[in-house]
Symmetry: C2
Subunit: 340 residues, 2 copies
Amino acid sequence: MKNKLNADIIDVANHAGVSPATVSRSFNHPDKVLLSTRKRIERAIAQTGYIRNRAAQAIQGKRSGTVGLIVPTLDNAIFSNLIQAFSEEMRLHGFTMLVTTHGYDLKDEYLLLRSLLEHRVEGVALIGHDHSDETYTLLERRNVPVVSMWNYKEDSKISCVGGENDQAGRAIAKHIVDLGHTEIAIAFPSVKENDRARDRKHGVLAYLAEAGLTVPVHRQIETVYSIANARNSAAELFEMQPRPTAVIAGNDVIAQGVIYAAQAKGLDVPNDVSVTGIGDFSGSASAFPSVTTVRMRPNKVGKIAASLLLERINGEDETDPSRIKVAVEVKSRESTKRCC
Amino acid sequence: MKNKLNADIIDVANHAGVSPATVSRSFNHPDKVLLSTRKRIERAIAQTGYIRNRAAQAIQGKRSGTVGLIVPTLDNAIFSNLIQAFSEEMRLHGFTMLVTTHGYDLKDEYLLLRSLLEHRVEGVALIGHDHSDETYTLLERRNVPVVSMWNYKEDSKISCVGGENDQAGRAIAKHIVDLGHTEIAIAFPSVKENDRARDRKHGVLAYLAEAGLTVPVHRQIETVYSIANARNSAAELFEMQPRPTAVIAGNDVIAQGVIYAAQAKGLDVPNDVSVTGIGDFSGSASAFPSVTTVRMRPNKVGKIAASLLLERINGEDETDPSRIKVAVEVKSRESTKRCC
DNA sequence: AATAGTAATGCAAACGTTTTCATTGATGCT
DNA sequence: AGCATCAATGAAAACGTTTGCATTACTATT
């Protein structure tokens, strides 16, 4: 009896006294194999230390057992909740996740997509709707199941799950206006190649404009997605005269940075200045002061996105994109207060 | 000319007027193919929209182009920095990363490892040294390149990269003792199946004991890795009499929760109570107050771990584990102050 | 000019599965 | 008893690459 390093399906078959076909079936269609045979096969697997080869399986055309996930970054709280939820749901259904990050570079995103397709992922999840033409073309050409997370868009080319970021922006702006603030500043990331931030920012400014408030350019600061950067960039806001009484941040991470910047200047949040985020990431509710934000339900989005993708993967070539809107809602917390 | 949905290497070969072997070589050993031929092949690839099939490649025995990463969770800042760094380095070398989480359940970890091996990952990265016997056995049996991140261990069975968590614990304890604190509490996660937390806690308590200080059990609280949980659990600490003047937390996330808990009780950090973390995650330096912690250099660890793993993957069956110690260092910041 | 060496390419046999089709034996129906 | 049906299994042909070996056409050496 040969003792190869790594047993293959034939070794298992020999051990169990059946054909390789039967072993294969016992994995993929267990109902088609006699219980007693299955037991023998399982014993043979244990004895030989066999681990099935998904690559060999994938080559048959279908079923690689993997899905791809492309996100801008893993490096902060922004996507953690989302990814964790997505990943758990996928795993429940036997899929393993290939994860890649492009650092907000859409050229890179395209390359990553290609690389995922080389691995024959059965589906792909992306963030938002800003993708290069090549990306969209490739997705369509290969007809690969795909879902976009984190931003709902009525006329999206691909299926999507998320809140309406424009609405989120309007909602938080309304909250601030309703509290009587008029000296308002905003702190957003670059909106280039980032539809979520763009929609939010647009929503905020549009609502404010409708309320008769304009935000002068020097009160619109741009920052990067990190507490450190946000804190640095926000510092200047609190030296302006008149000092803004409210700062609307593009997301909770930036909001946290803004809060720290204010505190470092000896200002009290919310008594001297109100600060809001968007997203409601884990942590925002427990911070002190807890931060007023817009709940975007990352866990729900991740889980639904996974289900949707699974449907596409298993489903009968539905051709139209599904779009699922997750309601957004302002969570009023300690970081905001009626003005003046 | 047949127009299959997805071109294969044969279609490309036909288009380019060469054999499939040559196309394959142009991918894997470009130096063995005439430049002009390569150009023709590239054109054919573009025309056919060919995307090579890694599964078919992987089946040849070597080179799946993937590595596996198994972490407890993606859901908070703990591992984000580490993973991002690891992932970037891997990508630079053409690898795609399969990511899985086990939620601190080592039985689950074993299953995940099996699943990664089914996908024939070329290497595996794990966190720490607490793994089930089955996990260790399987790794050895398959002889798969593996690296453990985040905790240095002199006699580890597998290669590892990380700081000495025991030292980290001692160092931060020394910092607190040197500041004159004697009423000390600690807030750690469960140390079950978690050698990093266990080593840190041990280091802290050992140093304190050597300094003649014992921490009564009611001042040792256990919490979960999240700001919300830490904040909740820590609240009780600030109702004790005498109130602790310093709280040593098991990591920066917990430290942040403790700080919020203190602030919510109207206490000032660091004037009423000093709080320390361990890890120096991104954000800890920019918080307000910035948090005193032990720098564990997650970025460095992730990057080195990736390099080490790549070496193993490409290397000549070195048999002994490599162990790389990353120096730990107390970063004294605003959250700690001389006592009383 | 004959020969050895070399670079570029093709041929065909793997790689480890899955799946279609065929075979066998058992069961139920008339 | 004869026949149709069905469940369980096996045989063999795929799946899309890679690679060792063979072939060809050059180049350099004598």
